[in-house]
Symmetry: C2
Subunit: 332 residues, 2 copies
């Protein structure tokens, strides 16, 4: 078992600090901004999020030698963009709940959710431009347009049952990886890192995001619903084709492959096929192969950290390593 | 009658150039961006818009001495943000048509309209950050957050019948003025203008936007429906309280004021009160006072142009002056 305590304590400390800076931002906005908008921002931003993206910004900047506290403001920008994305995504996916509370559009209406997302969007871009300059802004905006592009791709892929492994990696990169990688890279840029350091941190982020998403997909079939809070096979119920299934389809015999395709083409009562699909994935080692790919990604993330040797950044390196290992160890 | 031809010709030439740059941008994006997203952008961006905001960017930069063509790219960013705002506003207002075509959300669905707006948002911010630096980006983002804030204010004001003149100016500033003023100011920043020049161009934009909106409100009551394309008193039908009404309410006697408040509180069959409201506005000179305020604003805009003397910028000054005068002369 991986030693989790110091890493978790660090995450909590940093998350509290990010929350403090976000509250200061909102308080500064307060005299000039409409009361309802403030209420929506307050509701949508403070929902017990772990603030992983800001944490990555802060640690990346520190690994590159930066020690000031202004970096927390830069971190906030990533939480603002992330929140803006969630406000709009919950409308798009018609999700009623988010972290055990009503989603923003459910609570305040779709108009407020669109507008508050747009507000945070602009606030985040202004912050990144101010603190991380043109290069930082370019990385940040590229992640944003990439995420949108990914959503369009997802609309198109929703009816496509023969996704390739490459389609899958592209999709998770756009959904999760781009913003996580951008947090690492923009943190490095802000911290004055070299091009090599910025690249290494970006690689760390890409692999962290990739491993995170693969494990998410594994937990969907293999996790304990009491811990994950989701029904087993929820992705399949929603028609989502994830890595374990793609890998098994890739090596299944003709009969099993046809059977899987038939099930995927079924749009009603998918629940009764979950156990069968799970068995077929197991038959072709889809879960263990996917887990191995997540492990490989975490190894790559850890390797990227080798670009930052020395005791001065031991704490930061340990937290980032802990985060990468946690992604594999988590059960919820 | 104001001499319009040279000004209109200039607007057409510049609009064609902006369209050319926007098409080049989309062509550059094409290999990496989802086909449906491209289709939405193409549909939403090329709708016969007059490209006033990009024109202001280009002319402001030139007034400050800039002569390169890269400024057209910066101009495009303002059209992207403007379009993003329209995509989202049409969802919010549930508008089915825009410039004689189906609105984006009506044609492609709400999901595509939200996402394409977010995409243009990020694209515009990245462009402004790259070309106009941190200061330009700050002005641009401030306009964006201000527009959102204005929409929230509008939600709140929708049930408020005793709007002050100040409420009105704040509302039109947020709705129209901020982005127009930002186009002028960011153009000046890009063009290397001094702080005084940037301020003068911003003032021009604020007053242009203000006059434009007041005339819009006048045309709503006094315009020819065959030219404006809207029913007489459309604002009143939608429950919108505009400057002519506010000004008349401010000096009406108790009986007429009570009558107007009663009509405004009526939410059904407002059409039958339009003629009566128009008469009451006329009784207290609401239309002529409002027109005088629009004229004053145009005078202020023209005065701001005096900061840019000399023959070298005669063309730019004339086009901007023509634009300001056109705002007063227009009948549609």
């Amino acid at each position: 078992m991986v030693q989790m305590e110091p890493f978790i304590a660090a995450v909590k400390v940093e998350a509290a600090k990010i929350d403090e800076y976000m509250r200061a931002d909102l308080a500064r906005l307060q005299p000039t901004v409409d009361g309802l908008l403030q209420e929506v921002l307050d509701y949508g931003l403070f929902n017990g999020g772990k603030r992983v993206r800001p944490l990555l910004v802060v640690l990346a900047a520190r690994l590159c030698g930066n020690r000031d506290d202004e970096v927390y403001r830069l971190g906030c920008a990533f939480e603002y963009l992330h929140a803006a994305t969630l406000f709009h995504d919950d409308i798009i996916d018609n999700s009623e709940m988010r972290r055990g509370k009503q989603s923003v559009h459910k609570k305040f209406g779709i108009v407020a959710a669109i507008l508050a997302g747009d507000f945070l969007h602009a606030l985040s871009m202004a912050t990144v431009g101010r603190l991380a300059g043109g290069r930082g802004l370019e990385v940040f905006c590229h992640a944003t347009t990439g995420m949108v592009d990914g959503e369009f791709m997802q609309l198109r892929n929703a009816t496509k049952h023969n996704l390739s492994e490459l389609d899958y990696y592209n999709a998770i990169m756009m959904k999760t990886g781009l913003l996580i990688a951008a947090a690492c890279e923009v943190g490095a840029i802000y911290g004055g890192g070299t091009a090599v350091q910025a690249k290494a941190l970006r690689d760390y982020g890409v692999n962290l995001g990739c491993a995170y998403q693969i494990v998410d997909d594994l937990l969907d079939y293999l996790g304990d619903p009491a811990k994950t809070g989701k029904a087993v096979g929820n992705d399949l119920l929603e028609g989502k084709i994830t890595l374990p299934l793609i890998l098994s389809m890739g090596c299944a015999d003709a009969k099993d492959k046809t059977r899987l395709m038939t099930i995927l083409a079924t749009t009603t009562e998918r629940a009764k096929y979950v156990a069968e699909v799970e068995e077929l994935i197991k038959k072709y080692d889809g879960f263990s192969t996917a887990r191995q790919k997540a492990t490989d990604a975490v190894e790559k993330a850890l390797t990227a950290l080798q670009f930052f040797p020395g005791d001065k950044v031991l704490y930061e390196r340990n937290v980032l390593a802990g985060l990468a290992r946690y992604v594999l160890a988590r059960d919820k």
